[in-house]
Each structure stands twice: as C-alpha cells, then as structure tokens.
C-alpha cells in the first residue's frame, strides 16, 4: 500500500460571551477512492451576529459545501468544483433573503462568511469569502493565507466587506499551494484570530500533540483575552502525502475525453453493455450492467456530432453534477461509483418504461385524473430543481420517462441552468435545439432569460397536449422574434368539439401557458392546486387594474392626459385674448 494522504484534524467551537454560537464548522475525510478523487475538505462559516438566522446560515453553508462538493463529477478540478458549489450556495442564500425583503437591510437574513480548505493529493486549495482566516504555521508564527474582507471605517468601526448571501454573484478568493508532510493549517473565525497572537497559536500547536486539546486551549485563551464573539478554531495536520503521480497531473491538465461509440456485449469501464437504448445526434444511451454488483444502469455518452462543441461538452459534464445534487423520486438519479474513469460519460439508474411522448401516442385520450397524476409527479421533480435555484429549461415529453410502476421521472438535464454559475450558455442557444422548442417559453425566443415561470410554461404545454393532443399556440411560439408578435399570440381553447373538459381546467391551462411570465402561476404548487380545485374565480379571471399591472403605463397615460388638458387650456386662453 503506497503512502496515501493522511490528515489529522482538531476542532473546537464555543459560543463564548454570546448567547448562541453562530459559527459552524465541518470537515470530511472520505473513505476509499473518494479520498484520492476529491481529497479532504475542511470548512468554517461564521453567521453574522445581527441576524436571527445567522446560525442557520452558517450551518447551511457548511453542510451544503460538504455534501455538494463530494457530488461534483470527478472530471472537474477542485477549483471548478468548489467555486461552483460555493456559488450555488450563495445563490440559494441570496434567494432566501429575497422574499424576506432583507436585501436592503444587510445586517439580517442569511449571510455568513466561508473559509474552506481542500487538500487533495499534494495540493492545498483555499477558498475564502469574508473575515475568517486560514493560516499555515511557519516556525513560531503564522503565515496568513487569506485576506480579511473587512472594510475599516475607523479604528473602532469596521464592517464585513464580502460575504455569502449578499449579492446574487459572488467573488471567491482562490489560491493553491503544495503541501508537505508536517504542514499545519489553522482555520479561525474573527472571534479567535483578533484576540490571540499568532505566536501563541504556533506554540500551542507545536507543543500539544492532541489537536483537539490544542484547539480548546486556543479558544480558552481567546476567551481570556476578552473576545466578545463566538470562538471557533480548526487545526489540520498533514501526516503524509501521496507521491505525486504523473497520471494525476495529466488528469488535472485536461478534462476527460468522450468515449467511442459502444456496442452490445462490449465491456466498458467495468460495465457490460447490454444494448443500445437510444441514439440520436444529441447523445447515445446504452443499457448496461455493473460487473461488480450486477445492477442495471443506463450509460449516456456524447454524440459524435456534438463532441467538438465545447459548450455542449461543458453542459454534458454539468449534467452529472445536477443529477447527483437532486434527490427526488421524480428525477433521474445518477449512480455513485468510485471507480476511476477514463472517459466523460454519465451513469444513471435505468428506468424501465417509456417516454411521455410515447405514452401520449399510446394513450391519446387520458382521463383528467391520469393527467393530473403525471403532471403532479413531473411538477414534484421540477420543484426539486427550483428548490436548489436551478431551472430545467428543457422540459418536454421526450425528457420524461414513465416506468412500469407509473412513476414519472425527468431524465435529461443538459440545459439546466444553475443560479450563480457563470458561463453556462444553455439559454443562449435554445433556438438551435430542435425537438423541444415547441415547449420552450416565449421569453427565451425574445432573448430574455428564463425564470421558474418558464418551466411552468413547459409543464403547462405538456398538460395541454396530454389533454387535447394539440399545442396551445400551435407552432407560433417558436417563430417569435419581437414583443409585438408576442402580444399577437392567441391561445386556442383546450375545449373543442372532440374533447369534454371542464371550463375551469381550460382557464387553469390558459394561465399556466400565458405568454407573459408575470401573469403565469408564480409557483408550481399553485398550478397543481388549481388543477385539482374548480376555482370559481378562475372561470372569469378579472384583469388586474392597470395601475397594478403596469404602473409605468398608467402614470404615463395620466401625465399625457394632464398635458393635453394643460395644452387645451392654454389654447383656450390664447383664443379668448
């Protein structure tokens, strides 16, 4: 057994002179191959003390980081993985602050600092936002590796310059450095590092072999020095590092290449291919069995046509992360595997069933209860996306599978947009993706970004199509280029000569697929509720007053009217003279 990475951790956290401890810390030393693939992660967060949810914020940040980081695809570098994970956490916290109207008041809501240290192979990666601190012991003092994001107003007053949850986008400090056996890293919150001298810390760590005991001594010292804040410190000692292998370096340098096309009965990365399930110019999907445990899985590989397209490959690699992050019965689950990979591909559970598109061909006239059941299941899957601040963006009947038990699952996440992660061009080339533009919300064709309401539009179109066999606007939506055309879109009623449908269901569908995203359902749950309840108000939805619907136009019209009156009066006065 070659010497692998070996790390010892000591931690201590106290509320100190405060009533509650709003610091939160965590560390994860994974077992087996994951240690080689992902390394060890140590995270420290400090919730802001003015907020009642500061403790929740720091806890969420640490837990999400640790869970999500180990879900990222093996093909991502540590830097990419951690930055995307932090960006996603930041977006989630920012979104939590939005409805609470806390954005103006930055001292409340979900706001916290985050300092993370990931040690993988022979490298330490540091990610940092806020005024926590990561240091390395250098002889009898500490080498500060991070910069405090603290804006100093005067000697007595200063405030946090950067933190999670404040803005929708976040700038994350990153640095990496090689590690040697015997290196000691210290993570501390401001309650500690502002009150204890570096020299004291270095000495304590050097003379105390028990790291937890050392952490406790540092915390006690900070308390003695009069720290009024929560006190947390983590000490990390690198006991052994693996020998840096050449292959590992190469794997870092470039991302994994796409595999060749597979054939039945071939062996591929520990899977035996059973047969091809689907082949198109977008992807190839195979049914395979895992040779280790005999489980049936689906393997998806990029098509030859698209593998030269970097944007497509980026989305393909992102898909794995999305599939691992979401845990819902109605979303396809990625399969965890600890085997080393040589190619970029996606392994998921195998869904024994058919696509919703085929189901609709087989069941041209489903009952309302059946439609409700399936739409409800897809909506649950979509909610799992929305809860994580992700938009599916490509919901179509071909992307939903119905298995033999009647469970609906969303299967394709190639176009998913994840809030906070820059550079995903998924929305930009929507019009190039054939096979799904009939379900794409009109705002995408006008070049506007999508919202949760855009996914609701797609779901509404699917519900409409299941009930009527038609599309609510025919193919007109895909031809949209201007706002004027958008206003001319005419909804074709779901009630026609061939179908018997309650009128209120039509009203619900009409609202779900409204061309204006602001006038659709705001939440999936609202749509589902209305689909079950005959809502009297929905039968004749009264238009909201203009003042409420479009205040700008209202005041413009009012001003124009007043101006006309003034001009009229002036003319009248002029004529009388």
């Amino acid at each position: 057994m070659p010497a692998g990475l070996s790390i010892s951790i000591g931690q201590c956290s106290e509320a100190g002179r405060k009533s509650a401890n709003q610091d939160f810390y965590g560390a994860l030393i994974p077992e087996g191959p994951l240690l080689g693939l992902k390394g060890v992660a140590i995270v420290l967060a400090d919730g802001i003390s003015t907020s009642e949810v500061g403790a929740d914020a720091s806890e969420t940040a640490v837990k999400s980081f640790l869970t999500d980081y180990y879900c990222t695809p093996d093909s991502w570098s540590v830097k990419t993985s951690a930055q995307r994970v932090i960006a996603a956490v930041n977006s989630w916290m920012h979104a939590q602050n939005r409805p609470m109207r806390l954005l103006e008041d930055k001292d409340r809501g979900y706001v916290c600092t985050l300092s993370a240290l990931v040690i993988k192979s022979t490298t330490a990666h540091i990610f940092h936002v806020g005024d926590g601190r990561i240091c390395r012991v250098a002889g009898r003092t500490l080498e500060q590796l991070t910069e405090d994001h603290r804006v100093i107003v005067s000697s007595a007053e200063s405030y946090l310059g950067r933190a999670l949850g404040i803005n929708s986008q976040i700038e994350i400090d990153y640095r990496s450095l090689p590690v040697e056996p015997g290196d000691l890293f210290i993570l501390a919150t401001d309650g500690v590092h502002e009150h204890v001298t570096p020299r004291f810390i270095a000495e304590v760590v050097a003379e105390t072999p028990d790291l937890d005991g050392a952490a406790r001594r540092i915390v006690e010292e900070a308390y003695r020095q009069g720290s009024s804040d929560n006190l947390t410190v983590q000490i990390i000692r690198v006991d052994a590092v693996p020998r840096g292998e050449a292959a590992e370096v190469v794997a870092h340098a470039s991302e994994l290449p796409p595999p060749p096309l597979l054939e039945a009965r071939a062996e591929f990365e520990g899977y035996r291919i059973v047969r091809e399930l689907h082949a198109s110019s977008r992807s190839h999907i195979y049914l395979a069995t895992d040779e280790q445990d005999g489980a049936r899985v689906a393997i998806k590989i990029p098509s030859i046509d698209r593998r030269g397209d970097p944007a497509y490959m980026q989305r393909f690699r992102m898909e794995e992360w999305v599939a691992r992050r979401i845990n819902s019965a109605h979303v396809l689950r990625a399969r965890e595997s600890s085997r080393k990979r040589n190619y970029a591909y996606l392994v998921t559970e195998f869904v024994d069933g058919q696509t919703l598109a085929q189901w609709m061909v087989d069941n041209p006239r489903p009952g309302l209860h059946k439609v409700r059941d399936i739409i409800g299941q897809i909506a649950k899957g979509l909610q799992a996306f929305h809860r994580l601040e992700m938009l599916h963006q490509d919901l179509t009947p071909a992307n939903v599978m119905i298995d033999v038990t009647g469970t609906a699952k969303i299967i394709d996440f190639g176009s998913t947009s994840i809030a906070g992660i820059e550079g995903d061009g998924a929305a930009a080339d929507r019009t190039d993706i054939a096979g799904s533009i009939q379900y794409t919300a009109p705002e995408y064709f006008l070049g506007e970004g999508g919202t949760q309401a855009s996914d609701i539009f797609s779901l509404g179109v699917i519900a409409y199509q299941m009930l009527t066999g038609r599309l609510p606007y025919g193919t007109a939506v895909a031809k949209l280029r201007t706002r004027a055309q958008l206003r001319k879109l005419r909804y074709a009623s779901a009630v026609d000569d061939h179908r018997e449908l309650p009128g209120w269901v039509d009203a619900v569908l009409r609202k779900a697929v409204h061309p204006d995203p602001a006038r659709r359902y705001g939440e999936l749950s609202e749509f589902l509720f209305d689909l079950r309840q005959p809502d009297k108000a929905a039968l004749g939805i009264p238009a909201a007053p203009l003042l409420q619907r479009n205040p700008l136009v209202f005041w413009q019209a009012t001003s124009a009217l007043l101006a006309a009156i003034v001009v009229g009066l002036l003319i009248y006065l002029g004529l009388r003279r």
Binding site: M1, G270, S281, Q354, Q358, T405, I437, L471, T475, K479
Partner: protein, 291 residues
Amino acid sequence: MSFAGSGWVPQPKGYAVSYLVPSEFVTKMIDAGEAKILMSTRDTLVRAYMAGAILALAAWFAVTINVNTGQPLVGAILFPVGFCMLSLFGFDLLTGVFVLSPLAWLDKRPGVTMGGVLRNWGLVFVGNFAGALTVAFLMAFVTTFGFTQPPDKVGTTIGNIGEARTLGYAAHGAMGMVTLFLRGALCNWMVSTGVVGAMISTTVPGKVIAMWMPIFVFFYMVFEHSVVNMFLFPSGLMLHAPFSISDYFIWNEIPTVLGNMVGGLAFTGLTLYATHARTAPKRSVALKHAA
C-alpha cells in the same frame, strides 16, 4: 488503494471521428426538417431567396465555362461550388425541403402538421423563384449591355437550352412529359443525397466533399432541377428565346417540381428514415418485468 474495473479500454473505431453514424445524421435530418417547419415566414423567405440566387449564379457560371471550354464536364465539376456555398450558409432549396420537412411530420413531431409542411414548401418555392429571377434579370442585363445589343454567346446558349428543354419535351408528347418527370426524380435523388451529405460530417471539408459528388453527377447528366430551371428558363425568355411562359411551366417547371418531390422522398428521405430512424428502439422500450 485499488481501482476496480477492467483493464480493457475500447479503442476508437477505424473511421474518422468527423463521420457521423447513420443514427445520428438521420435524427439531424428530422431535426432540420422540424426546424424548417417551425421557422418564421420572414426567415424562410430570406433563406430561400438567397439559395435560389446563389444556385442561379452557379448555373450561369457553369454555362459560361461550358461555352468557353466547349467541354460540359468542366462546368459540371465546378457547378457544385454554388450548392456548397448555399448549404454552408444555411440557405434552403425547394429540393432540400422536399426531403427534410416531411420527415418531421412522419416522426410525429409535436405541432408539425401536413399544412405546416405545405406552407414550408410554398414559401421556399416563392423565395427560390424570386432569387433565381433576380439573377436571371441581372444575367440578361449584363450579357446584352442593358438590352442594347443581342446577347453574347453565353446568353444565346441559355436561350437555346430553354428552347430545347421545353419544346423538345413537348415534341414527344406524353412520353416527353414522363421523361421530364423522371429526369426530375433522378435529379433530386442526387441533390438530396448532397443535402444529406452536408450532415454526415462535422467538418467543413468533409461536408464539401460529401456534397460535391452527387451535385456533380446530376449536373453532368442534365437532370432537371426545379430551382436551376427557375433561372435558365426565365432568363431565356428575357433574351427572347422562342418559347412561351406557359411552355415553360407546363413543359418544364411543374413536371420538374413534381419529379423532384417524388425522387427526393422516394430515393433518399423515406429510405433513410425507414432503415435508420425507425429501426432504432428510440420511442418505446419493451415492458418487461422489472428485475
């Protein structure tokens, strides 16, 4: 630390990676057909207009070469430049949409109706015709110095072609009409093969080579292409060749359009769709007991 897994890693097959396997290019054809049907009227017309114009210019170019060299092979070898240009720029010919659009309808793509297919064909016909007519007028003007002198050799040759391929067919009566139709069918067999050729490779040189071969064949064999004819015959008429507009439509354009439609669908679109798209177990997976 040991990684489980097989030591054997599949190697890429012998073919160049830029070649798409049939299951991929056939789905691309269906997607392309769907995109054309869902395209806005403005875009459809603009793209069809430019396709007609570029192809007409290439035809003028090829006839000029034939006249100057006296060797039709040279013109035929070089004529595909026009087709390659318009295809790479994403413009649409009537002969191409005859093959692609119905595939989306056959594949039951949502919202795609027979009416949508016919609308697409109609718009592309109008656009191609307008583009070809524009070049026909430019050609007639240029070869006669603005109609101030008799046409030069190229203009005269085009006039003769128009006469031979309308009144020439008419002279054979019904069999002439059938011949015309079959030449149209043969033409689009080749031209639509070129349309597919543009989809079987991911690189520009690959696309150009795949498009070049069938277009070269059709031009040398003097098959009847509805869009090329939209240029040759109107320009002949503008140069006072001795045939009428109704001769052109009845004894050339209409049978050619029908021949193109039947030939392209029968020999290329439906065969590829039937053998490569319908074989794939794409839409339904046999329902078995869950293991």
